[in-house]
Symmetry: C2
DNA sequence: ACACATTAGTTCGTCTACTAATAGTTAAGC
DNA sequence: GCTTAACTATTAGTAGACGAACTAATGTGT
């Protein structure tokens, strides 16, 4: 029970750290005048990188559930940032694209996101990153 | 831009890892027949460790907002696991306690939580834990 | 060709996160 | 002492997470 792996700390630390990052990014997006949540940004980012992606593919890539993706895309479509185009050859599917307005938003918001990432990592080093990836991947894999 | 700290990876890895842990724990709680969410467990755990704690103190400790704590405590009270007692000397406050049923639930659910923590950490070592804590704390502090 | 399973997306219900606004209470300053 | 500020908890509204159940379309086996 007193062994380090039994402490609540690691669960708790991951949780509070991701909250901190999300809050910082959300605050910057708000102050930049963007009507965007962090999760909405994440989907826009993926669509920008893989235009014509389907909702299910998006769900897999972002580790969100299909219903969650549906709802976020609904919102982005309402704002005119994303477009659902019927997929050729499969009438169940949609191909997702950024609208012109969506592409503009991406371009304008990107520097804010990049700055938050840079700020969060601070002066941690390459070897820290290797430790970080190894430990996180290990925890993740332990649940597979 | 190609520098490691600019990758989306670290944000993404933290996010997916905490999701994985939460899902694993929730699944175990469900399979164990507990009518408890992960967040509800977190509050029960804190009340167990600090009986008579107030809602605001609980919010600070768990990094949840006061309205969130209010709602979760409402649910736990409805289930008969937690009790709100008026605080002596300050009629705005409540002192929170586990009911007998709440204490039973804690005792029964604890092994499940401990097992998930153990499983997640796997065979990572003490030095890994030190790296982990240092890196997480660093990211966290970079936003203060 | 037809029953059957699978896939893509949606709807619904419950829960948590966060903001803003509010009631009621207590503390502080002049 | 009295006004004002600060604090504790709550309510309301929007957004997101997730599971279950559903519709419509597609694929497979015989």
């Amino acid at each position: 029970m007193t062994h380090y792996s039994d402490q609540r700390a690691y669960f708790f630390k991951i949780d509070t750290t991701i909250k901190k990052i999300r809050n910082a990014l959300q605050k910057q997006l708000n102050e930049g005048g963007f009507d965007l949540t962090v999760d909405q940004w994440v989907l826009i980012d993926h669509i920008k990188r893989a235009p014509s992606i389907s909702q299910n593919e998006l769900a897999e890539l972002t580790f969100k559930d299909p219903p969650t993706v549906t709802r976020i895309i609904d919102l982005l479509e309402k704002k005119g940032l994303v477009e659902r185009a019927p997929a050729a050859g499969d009438r169940r599917k949609f191909n997702l694209f950024l609208t012109e307005k969506g592409a503009d938003t991406y371009r304008e918001a990107f520097p804010i996101v990049a700055e938050i990432r840079r700020k969060g990592w601070g002066d941690l080093e390459e070897t820290d990153y290797q430790h970080f990836v190894r430990i996180m991947d290990s925890i993740y894999q332990n649940f597979n």
